[in-house]
Protein backbone atom coordinates (compact mmCIF):
# COMPACT_ATOMS: atom_id res chain seq x y z
CA UNK A 1 0.00 0.00 0.00
CA UNK A 2 2.52 2.60 1.16
CA UNK A 3 5.01 1.72 -1.55
CA UNK A 4 2.39 2.43 -4.21
CA UNK A 5 1.76 5.92 -2.77
CA UNK A 6 5.25 7.02 -3.77
CA UNK A 7 4.78 6.26 -7.45
CA UNK A 8 1.07 6.79 -8.19
CA UNK A 9 -0.74 10.11 -8.71
CA UNK A 10 -2.82 11.72 -5.95
CA UNK A 11 -6.23 10.96 -7.59
CA UNK A 12 -5.21 7.31 -7.96
CA UNK A 13 -3.95 7.20 -4.39
CA UNK A 14 -7.12 8.94 -3.14
CA UNK A 15 -9.34 6.45 -4.95
CA UNK A 16 -7.37 3.59 -3.44
CA UNK A 17 -7.61 5.02 0.08
CA UNK A 18 -11.36 5.64 -0.22
CA UNK A 19 -11.97 2.16 -1.62
CA UNK A 20 -10.02 0.58 1.23
CA UNK A 21 -11.91 2.75 3.76
CA UNK A 22 -15.27 1.63 2.35
CA UNK A 23 -14.09 -1.98 2.50
CA UNK A 24 -13.07 -1.66 6.13
CA UNK A 25 -16.37 0.10 6.92
CA UNK A 26 -18.40 -2.68 5.30
CA UNK A 27 -16.39 -5.40 7.06
CA UNK A 28 -16.81 -3.68 10.41
CA UNK A 29 -20.51 -3.32 9.68
CA UNK A 30 -20.78 -7.08 9.36
CA UNK A 31 -19.21 -7.35 12.79
CA UNK A 32 -21.50 -4.62 14.14
CA UNK A 33 -24.46 -6.85 13.35
CA UNK A 34 -23.15 -9.37 15.85
CA UNK A 35 -22.46 -6.65 18.43
CA UNK A 36 -26.06 -5.41 18.19
CA UNK A 37 -27.36 -8.94 18.56
CA UNK A 38 -25.04 -9.94 21.41
CA UNK A 39 -25.78 -6.71 23.27
CA UNK A 40 -29.53 -7.33 23.00
CA UNK A 41 -29.05 -10.90 24.14
CA UNK A 42 -27.05 -9.60 27.14
CA UNK A 43 -30.15 -7.68 28.23
CA UNK A 44 -29.45 -4.17 26.96
CA UNK A 45 -32.30 -2.34 25.23
CA UNK A 46 -32.05 -1.34 21.58
CA UNK A 47 -31.52 2.28 22.69
CA UNK A 48 -28.76 1.34 25.14
CA UNK A 49 -27.08 -0.79 22.48
CA UNK A 50 -27.18 2.05 19.95
CA UNK A 51 -25.90 4.62 22.46
CA UNK A 52 -22.87 2.40 23.07
CA UNK A 53 -22.08 2.31 19.35
CA UNK A 54 -22.78 6.05 18.84
CA UNK A 55 -20.95 7.40 21.89
CA UNK A 56 -18.48 4.79 23.14
CA UNK A 57 -17.63 3.80 19.54
CA UNK A 58 -14.79 1.40 20.16
CA UNK A 59 -15.64 -2.18 19.26
CA UNK A 60 -13.37 -4.02 21.66
CA UNK A 61 -14.62 -2.01 24.65
CA UNK A 62 -18.26 -2.42 23.59
CA UNK A 63 -17.93 -6.20 23.21
CA UNK A 64 -16.11 -6.37 26.54
CA UNK A 65 -18.83 -4.37 28.29
CA UNK A 66 -21.80 -6.41 27.02
CA UNK A 67 -19.74 -9.59 27.44
CA UNK A 68 -19.26 -8.91 31.15
CA UNK A 69 -22.94 -7.99 31.57
CA UNK A 70 -24.09 -11.02 29.55
CA UNK A 71 -21.87 -13.25 31.67
CA UNK A 72 -23.60 -12.05 34.82
CA UNK A 73 -21.11 -9.36 35.82
CA UNK A 74 -22.12 -5.98 37.23
CA UNK A 75 -22.76 -3.21 34.69
CA UNK A 76 -20.14 -1.04 36.38
CA UNK A 77 -17.59 -3.88 36.12
CA UNK A 78 -18.45 -3.98 32.44
CA UNK A 79 -17.80 -0.23 32.20
CA UNK A 80 -14.46 -0.60 33.99
CA UNK A 81 -13.44 -3.40 31.61
CA UNK A 82 -14.50 -1.28 28.64
CA UNK A 83 -12.35 1.63 29.86
CA UNK A 84 -9.36 -0.67 30.46
CA UNK A 85 -9.67 -1.98 26.92
CA UNK A 86 -10.08 1.61 25.69
CA UNK A 87 -6.67 2.61 27.05
CA UNK A 88 -5.17 1.44 23.77
CA UNK A 89 -7.07 4.21 21.99
CA UNK A 90 -5.12 6.79 24.03
CA UNK A 91 -1.93 5.32 22.59
CA UNK A 92 -3.44 5.21 19.09
CA UNK A 93 -4.39 8.87 19.58
CA UNK A 94 -0.80 9.73 20.54
CA UNK A 95 0.29 8.17 17.27
CA UNK A 96 -2.47 9.96 15.32
CA UNK A 97 -1.73 13.37 16.91
CA UNK A 98 1.60 13.52 15.09
CA UNK A 99 -0.09 12.67 11.75
CA UNK A 100 -3.31 14.71 12.07
CA UNK A 101 -2.25 17.93 13.85
CA UNK A 102 -5.91 18.83 14.63
CA UNK A 103 -7.05 21.82 16.72
CA UNK A 104 -10.31 23.46 17.88
CA UNK A 105 -13.62 21.71 17.18
CA UNK A 106 -11.94 19.17 14.93
CA UNK A 107 -10.03 17.68 17.85
CA UNK A 108 -12.97 16.09 19.73
CA UNK A 109 -14.38 14.89 16.38
CA UNK A 110 -11.05 13.30 15.48
CA UNK A 111 -10.77 11.86 19.00
CA UNK A 112 -14.11 10.10 18.62
CA UNK A 113 -12.86 8.44 15.40
CA UNK A 114 -9.60 7.14 16.92
CA UNK A 115 -10.12 3.36 16.85
CA UNK A 116 -8.20 0.24 15.78
CA UNK A 117 -9.29 0.44 12.14
CA UNK A 118 -8.75 4.15 11.45
CA UNK A 119 -5.33 4.11 13.16
CA UNK A 120 -4.21 0.97 11.37
CA UNK A 121 -5.31 2.33 7.99
CA UNK A 122 -3.56 5.66 8.64
CA UNK A 123 -0.23 4.23 9.79
CA UNK A 124 -0.22 1.75 6.90
CA UNK A 125 0.37 4.81 4.66
CA UNK A 126 3.73 6.54 4.89
CA UNK A 127 3.01 9.90 3.17
CA UNK A 128 1.14 12.45 5.37
CA UNK A 129 -1.69 13.30 2.94
CA UNK A 130 -2.90 9.74 2.19
CA UNK A 131 -2.35 8.91 5.86
CA UNK A 132 -4.69 11.72 7.01
CA UNK A 133 -7.28 10.84 4.36
CA UNK A 134 -7.11 7.18 5.41
CA UNK A 135 -7.83 8.17 9.02
CA UNK A 136 -10.83 10.42 8.29
CA UNK A 137 -12.31 8.21 5.54
CA UNK A 138 -11.93 4.99 7.50
CA UNK A 139 -13.20 6.58 10.73
CA UNK A 140 -16.27 8.00 8.97
CA UNK A 141 -17.00 4.79 7.02
CA UNK A 142 -16.70 2.64 10.14
CA UNK A 143 -18.84 5.08 12.17
CA UNK A 144 -21.68 4.96 9.62
CA UNK A 145 -21.63 1.19 8.97
CA UNK A 146 -20.95 0.25 12.61
CA UNK A 147 -23.95 2.22 13.84
CA UNK A 148 -26.32 1.10 11.07
CA UNK A 149 -25.28 -2.50 11.64
CA UNK A 150 -25.66 -2.17 15.40
CA UNK A 151 -29.25 -1.00 14.97
CA UNK A 152 -30.07 -3.79 12.51
CA UNK A 153 -28.35 -6.37 14.71
CA UNK A 154 -30.14 -5.20 17.84
CA UNK A 155 -33.52 -5.24 16.09
CA UNK A 156 -33.00 -8.68 14.60
CA UNK A 157 -31.36 -10.13 17.70
CA UNK A 158 -33.20 -13.39 17.49
CA UNK A 159 -32.19 -14.14 13.91
CA UNK A 160 -28.51 -13.46 14.66
CA UNK A 161 -28.32 -14.37 18.33
CA UNK A 162 -25.77 -17.04 17.50
CA UNK A 163 -23.32 -15.31 15.11
CA UNK A 164 -20.98 -18.29 15.49
CA UNK A 165 -23.07 -20.24 12.98
CA UNK A 166 -22.03 -17.73 10.30
CA UNK A 167 -18.43 -17.71 11.51
CA UNK A 168 -18.82 -14.01 12.35
CA UNK A 169 -16.74 -14.42 15.51
CA UNK A 170 -13.75 -15.02 13.21
CA UNK A 171 -14.34 -11.72 11.39
CA UNK A 172 -12.63 -9.41 13.89
CA UNK A 173 -9.38 -11.40 14.28
CA UNK A 174 -9.12 -11.73 10.48
CA UNK A 175 -9.72 -8.00 10.07
CA UNK A 176 -7.09 -7.15 12.70
CA UNK A 177 -4.64 -9.53 10.97
CA UNK A 178 -5.20 -7.89 7.58
CA UNK A 179 -4.78 -4.44 9.11
CA UNK A 180 -1.63 -5.32 11.02
CA UNK A 181 0.24 -7.25 8.31
CA UNK A 182 1.75 -4.16 6.58
CA UNK A 183 3.47 -3.35 9.89
CA UNK A 184 5.26 -6.70 10.09
CA UNK A 185 8.03 -5.75 7.68
CA UNK A 186 10.98 -5.95 10.04
CA UNK A 187 12.09 -8.26 12.81
CA UNK A 188 11.17 -6.04 15.75
CA UNK A 189 7.38 -5.89 15.19
CA UNK A 190 7.34 -9.66 14.66
CA UNK A 191 9.06 -10.24 17.99
CA UNK A 192 6.71 -7.76 19.69
CA UNK A 193 3.65 -9.37 18.05
CA UNK A 194 4.58 -12.90 19.11
CA UNK A 195 5.53 -11.83 22.64
CA UNK A 196 2.29 -9.85 22.96
CA UNK A 197 0.20 -12.83 21.85
CA UNK A 198 2.02 -15.10 24.30
CA UNK A 199 1.61 -12.68 27.21
CA UNK A 200 -2.09 -12.19 26.46
CA UNK A 201 -2.87 -15.92 26.17
CA UNK A 202 -0.86 -16.88 29.27
CA UNK A 203 -2.63 -14.25 31.38
CA UNK A 204 -6.20 -14.95 30.16
CA UNK A 205 -7.05 -17.55 32.85
CA UNK A 206 -5.82 -15.37 35.72
CA UNK A 207 -7.03 -11.79 35.17
CA UNK A 208 -10.34 -10.04 34.34
CA UNK A 209 -11.46 -9.80 30.71
CA UNK A 210 -9.63 -7.05 28.84
CA UNK A 211 -6.57 -7.02 31.07
CA UNK A 212 -4.55 -9.51 28.94
CA UNK A 213 -4.62 -6.98 26.10
CA UNK A 214 -3.30 -4.30 28.48
CA UNK A 215 -0.49 -6.65 29.56
CA UNK A 216 0.36 -6.98 25.87
CA UNK A 217 0.67 -3.18 25.74
CA UNK A 218 3.38 -3.61 28.36
CA UNK A 219 5.36 -5.68 25.84
CA UNK A 220 5.37 -2.73 23.44
CA UNK A 221 6.46 -0.39 26.24
CA UNK A 222 9.32 -2.69 27.28
CA UNK A 223 10.44 -3.13 23.66
CA UNK A 224 10.06 0.60 23.02
CA UNK A 225 12.31 1.80 25.84
CA UNK A 226 15.17 -0.33 24.55
CA UNK A 227 17.68 1.71 22.51
CA UNK A 228 16.26 2.48 19.07
CA UNK A 229 18.16 0.72 16.33
CA UNK A 230 18.78 2.41 12.97
CA UNK A 231 15.95 2.34 10.42
CA UNK A 232 18.16 0.11 8.26
CA UNK A 233 16.96 -2.90 10.25
CA UNK A 234 13.91 -2.94 7.95
Amino acid sequence: MSDADAVSSWPATRTGVLRDAAGVGLATGAYGLSFGAISSAAGLSVLQTCVLSLVMFTGGSQFAMVGVIGGGGAAMTGAATAIMLGVRNAFYAVRMAAILDVRGWRRPVAAQLVIDESTAMAVARTAPRPSRLAFWATGAAVYVFWNLATLIGALSAHALSNPRVLGLDAAAPAAFLALMSPRLRSREPWVVALAAAAVALISVPFVPAGVPVLFAAGVAVVAGVRPNRPEGSR
Binding site: G23, A79, I83, A175, S181, A200
Partner: protein, 99 residues
Amino acid sequence: MWLAIAVGCVGCFALKLVGLSLPRRVIEQPVVKHIAELLPVALLTALIATQTFTSGHRLQLDARAAGLVAAAIAVRFKAPFLVVVAVACLVTALVRLVA
Protein backbone atom coordinates in the same frame (compact mmCIF):
# COMPACT_ATOMS: atom_id res chain seq x y z
CA MET B 1 -27.28 0.37 33.56
CA TRP B 2 -27.46 3.90 32.11
CA LEU B 3 -24.94 5.16 34.68
CA ALA B 4 -22.50 2.40 33.72
CA ILE B 5 -23.01 3.20 30.03
CA ALA B 6 -22.32 6.89 30.73
CA VAL B 7 -19.20 6.11 32.77
CA GLY B 8 -17.89 3.75 30.09
CA CYS B 9 -18.59 6.22 27.27
CA VAL B 10 -17.04 9.21 29.06
CA GLY B 11 -14.00 7.16 30.07
CA CYS B 12 -13.38 5.83 26.57
CA PHE B 13 -13.79 9.28 24.96
CA ALA B 14 -11.53 10.93 27.55
CA LEU B 15 -8.76 8.41 26.77
CA LYS B 16 -8.99 9.23 23.06
CA LEU B 17 -8.99 13.01 23.69
CA VAL B 18 -6.11 12.90 26.19
CA GLY B 19 -3.98 10.95 23.71
CA LEU B 20 -4.74 13.45 20.97
CA SER B 21 -4.10 16.46 23.21
CA LEU B 22 -0.70 15.58 24.67
CA PRO B 23 1.86 18.30 23.93
CA ARG B 24 3.90 17.73 20.81
CA ARG B 25 7.20 17.69 22.73
CA VAL B 26 5.89 14.71 24.71
CA ILE B 27 4.82 12.96 21.50
CA GLU B 28 8.09 13.55 19.69
CA GLN B 29 10.32 11.97 22.34
CA PRO B 30 12.08 9.13 20.47
CA VAL B 31 11.16 6.61 23.16
CA VAL B 32 7.47 7.63 23.19
CA LYS B 33 7.39 7.58 19.39
CA HIS B 34 8.98 4.13 19.32
CA ILE B 35 6.50 2.81 21.90
CA ALA B 36 3.55 4.35 20.04
CA GLU B 37 4.65 2.63 16.82
CA LEU B 38 4.92 -0.76 18.51
CA LEU B 39 1.68 -0.48 20.52
CA PRO B 40 -0.83 -1.15 17.70
CA VAL B 41 1.15 -4.29 16.76
CA ALA B 42 1.15 -5.55 20.34
CA LEU B 43 -2.51 -4.70 21.02
CA LEU B 44 -3.87 -5.97 17.69
CA THR B 45 -1.94 -9.23 18.07
CA ALA B 46 -3.23 -9.64 21.63
CA LEU B 47 -6.80 -9.02 20.41
CA ILE B 48 -6.31 -11.58 17.61
CA ALA B 49 -4.91 -14.11 20.08
CA THR B 50 -7.57 -13.64 22.76
CA GLN B 51 -10.49 -13.48 20.31
CA THR B 52 -9.29 -16.59 18.45
CA PHE B 53 -7.88 -18.89 21.13
CA THR B 54 -9.90 -18.17 24.27
CA SER B 55 -13.42 -18.71 25.50
CA GLY B 56 -14.17 -16.83 28.71
CA HIS B 57 -11.13 -17.48 30.91
CA ARG B 58 -10.13 -20.70 29.16
CA LEU B 59 -7.75 -21.30 26.28
CA GLN B 60 -9.65 -23.00 23.48
CA LEU B 61 -8.65 -24.33 20.09
CA ASP B 62 -11.67 -24.48 17.78
CA ALA B 63 -12.95 -23.58 14.32
CA ARG B 64 -11.87 -19.97 14.77
CA ALA B 65 -8.22 -21.09 14.53
CA ALA B 66 -8.92 -22.58 11.09
CA GLY B 67 -10.49 -19.27 10.10
CA LEU B 68 -7.42 -17.36 11.27
CA VAL B 69 -5.06 -19.68 9.35
CA ALA B 70 -7.20 -19.17 6.23
CA ALA B 71 -7.05 -15.41 6.78
CA ALA B 72 -3.26 -15.55 7.14
CA ILE B 73 -2.99 -17.45 3.86
CA ALA B 74 -5.25 -14.88 2.18
CA VAL B 75 -3.09 -12.06 3.56
CA ARG B 76 0.05 -13.85 2.34
CA PHE B 77 -1.39 -13.85 -1.21
CA LYS B 78 -2.30 -10.17 -0.87
CA ALA B 79 -6.06 -10.75 -1.02
CA PRO B 80 -8.27 -7.64 -0.59
CA PHE B 81 -9.42 -6.86 2.95
CA LEU B 82 -13.00 -8.03 2.46
CA VAL B 83 -11.82 -11.32 0.95
CA VAL B 84 -9.57 -11.95 3.96
CA VAL B 85 -12.49 -11.41 6.35
CA ALA B 86 -14.96 -13.40 4.23
CA VAL B 87 -12.55 -16.34 3.88
CA ALA B 88 -12.05 -16.43 7.67
CA CYS B 89 -15.82 -16.44 8.32
CA LEU B 90 -16.49 -19.03 5.61
CA VAL B 91 -13.79 -21.45 6.76
CA THR B 92 -14.83 -21.07 10.41
CA ALA B 93 -18.48 -21.73 9.56
CA LEU B 94 -17.59 -24.72 7.35
CA VAL B 95 -15.32 -26.30 9.96
CA ARG B 96 -18.14 -25.90 12.53
CA LEU B 97 -20.60 -27.48 10.11
CA VAL B 98 -18.33 -30.49 9.49
CA ALA B 99 -17.10 -30.94 13.07
